[in-house]
């Protein structure tokens, strides 16, 4: 096992607000290996975006502050870097793509100008060469007639095309890690599909890792290698995408899957609401909304990450998976029969296998 490209350990990001201290990210740990896609999934307010922004310290300080933990990127602790050193890293080895491509592009410059700028900011290349690289990039992200569109302004592109342009800008310096925060949320489903395909394609081509932040489990199922489920600043569950969808273990993950509308078997919402960010509940943050909460859930701190069925790569922060507890409380008896290899061996037509859809 080689070193992961990005390793986040016990990250704590807080915001000092008038209402008090908001622990937006409260002890989050996960790794991103080279060439893989990790999805951070959660509702709004779960801290997934702040986690992504903490990596290159894009959060506004003050009021924000990285209060603890370490972010090791390719052997280097980013929390120890100065602002200037970070600036060299941003948009170079670590690139960002945001939800709203409109906001990421400057309306008064042509897209070509902006891509050339992105290239020249980090690499000492003549303008002509930067231009031809920019053209090549536009072509690779699937802009038809790249040469002709190069000198167009952002408003002359559709939403999907703008997102392709901002991807091209992000890829300009051949980053090792692409942090994509809800890159397809503002787009129509047919366009979303195109962009997700493109991301997967570019990942292979550029051999980069992707940290994709999304609220949409459908998107997660489509592109992720591994998944980190967040809730109220904590990691609830973490695992391989097939394991996680095959054997969702945390009650929150299960509830999140059950509330997806349109699966044909009735959506069930998660009752209650997100806990107060300034005054989170003791114990498991999810316990006030959890159907399986017992006394142990209501006291102390968030439960540690327990391995699911002895699988160290699939961990869940729930007391029912701790030593001496019985996970079937959460999962129900019938699911215990699921073979350990889960859906892994099943090929594309796996939907036929006892699937309820």
């Amino acid at each position: 096992m080689t070193e992961p490209l990005l390793s986040i350990r016990d990250l704590r990001t807080v915001f000092h607000t008038d209402e008090g201290l908001v622990r937006a990210v409260d002890g989050v740990s996960f790794d991103v290996n080279r060439g893989e896609t990790v999805c951070l999934v959660g509702e709004s307010g779960s801290g997934k975006t702040v986690t992504g922004e903490s990596i290159t310290r894009l959060i506004r300080t003050p009021p924000g502050e990285i209060a603890g933990g370490e972010i090791v990127f390719d052997g280097q602790d980013l929390t120890a870097l100065s602002e200037a050193e970070l600036r060299d890293l941003r948009g170079d080895r670590i690139a960002h793509v945001f939800q709203n491509p409109q906001g990421a592009l400057n309306p008064v410059y042509t897209v070509g100008w902006q891509i050339v700028e992105a290239i020249q900011l980090h690499q000492d290349v003549p303008r002509e060469e930067a231009r031809s690289r920019g053209l090549d990039l536009l072509d690779r992200v699937g802009i038809p007639e790249a040469t002709r569109r190069f000198d167009d302004y952002p408003h002359e592109f559709s939403g999907g095309m703008k997102q392709r342009v901002s991807l091209a800008m992000a890829l300009a310096t051949n980053p090792d890690l692409l942090i994509a925060d809800e890159p397809t949320t503002a787009l129509d489903v047919t366009i979303q599909n195109q962009i997700l395909d493109l991301l997967t394609e570019l990942q292979d081509e550029f051999d980069m890792s992707i940290l994709l932040i999304t609220h949409d489990l459908g998107v997660v199922a489509e592109v992720a290698d591994r998944v980190v489920v967040m809730y109220a600043g904590k990691v609830m569950e973490r695992g391989d995408v097939f394991d996680l969808f095959e054997r969702p273990s945390h009650p929150y993950t299960r509830a999140l899957l059950n509330c997806l509308p349109g699966r044909g078997d009735g959506a069930r919402s998660i009752g209650g609401k997100l806990p107060s960010p300034t005054d989170p509940p003791d114990g498991c943050r999810f316990h006030p909304r959890c159907d399986y909460a017992v006394d142990a859930c209501r006291e102390g701190d968030q439960p540690p990450a327990y391995a699911v069925d002895g699988d160290e790569d699939h961990v869940v922060s729930c007391v029912h998976y701790g030593p001496g507890s019985d996970p079937s409380v959460v999962r129900g008896e019938d699911e215990e029969a699921v073979p350990a290899d889960g859906g892994r061996a099943v090929d594309g037509d796996g939907g036929a296998r006892g699937d309820d859809r």
Partner: protein, 516 residues
Amino acid sequence: MTRPLLDVEGLTKHYSITEGVLRNEVGKVRAVDGISFTVDRGETLGLVGESGCGKSTAATTALRLEEPTDGHVVFDGEDVTAYDDRELKRFRRRAQMVFQDPTSSFDPRMSIGESVAEPLRVHGMRDRERRRRIVGDLLERVGLDAADVDRYPHEFSGGQKQRIGLARALVINPDLIVADEPVSALDVSVQADILDLIDRLQREFGLAIVVISHDMGVVREVCDRVAVMYLGEIVETAPTAELFEDPQHPYTRALLGSTPVADPRRRGQGTKLTGDVPSPSDPPPGCRFHTRCPEVIPDADYDLDAETWRAVLNLRLRAASRGIDVEAVRVYAAAGDDPEAADPEAVRAEIREEFDIPATLPDPRAEEALAGALDRLVVDDVDGAAERLADAFPTVCRRERPGLVPDGTDLSAAEWAAIKEFRVWVATLVDAEREAVAERLEARCANEADREGSVDRLAVRAAFRLPEPLSDSAADRAVSAAVDALLAGRAGDAADELYDAFGPLRERACHLNRGE
């Protein structure tokens, strides 16, 4: 009672694009281009489509929040498009709208009690105490607390605000609610709650609801029937279960196929649509979806798979819109050398690659035509190439506009459109006296009446472009019965006859299903 609460027919909304100080019209955005649908009492109809397909405009023009350019909207036997201001206000009491963003639809300086009670006040309820009682009761019915009346919008979460939005729509006891993307601004974890609530309120209040959404999942959850829109037109309507089990229009299939499923074992299996939605100011001729349709029909019998045919057609369409920049391709093909000296073979290969067309097409005749067109492109003759491609790769999907036809009948699209137009006209007369019906009929059929000026069956059928007989015998019988009832002055019976025979039928607009 089989008549629908709402019958929308031929609804059209065009926005003018103007230029200069004189505001000359230089073009039109065809936001909604002749759509028809009905909504029964107690029924939920979904209007679904991508952004820009005109679904929101369809709703606002149907409620006359915006003036329609053309078309009829019949609400409970009255023509909404003919209402004056006073009648419109009365109509607004019976038809309410709920908006996507619950935050911006409330005045932040008004307590929610005041906000919810506002429609009551506007419509003339002076008794403050009574207003407060009604609002408190409603808040409880949408899952909030009666004591919340004095709190302000910012104290509520998005989901709660959407509940309050529903309460405000319900406060004057409407018959119809139009909900524009009611849950898309909400987290998935609360979406199900709101959808549940909509379902429950519908049963409790016997409401007719139109839900506008881009999300097939949402539509599946709450709707009884669905109308799929693309570029201002309805391409398919069907009961929800049927639509999801057996989508008939390629666009519906593509929409369903593009919706990501929360199952990693099924990844990569969705339909992939290429390209963007064309501009509604210049919609493609023929079927509006043909520029992106993965199932577009070739006229000629070439031995090409669907993907290759699509790729060749993309080249054809791009050439026709003069969207191929040969100069740029040459720069590419030259790879840094002098573009003028670029090898023509390399340029041809580059064009093929840009359009994902294989190096040689498996069909020799198709390959010959394509090679000929590429040769012209290489010498900068884009028009010649476009012509050549258009001749060699024609498609009915571009040539002819497919109209909606109902399933299970032999009616043609034109006949079906005529029946709907006739039906909506009859529907405006259901409460009219016998004399008034005769009068209106006479006026409508004046050009077709015989010399003595009397209106007979033939005149009515001619006036409404209903050929005798219609291609479908059952339809013909129903139309004949309706015409007879109308001539006898019984408009109500005529309407019943038509709505009974042509209730909510499954419809689709696609050349693919023509032969069946």
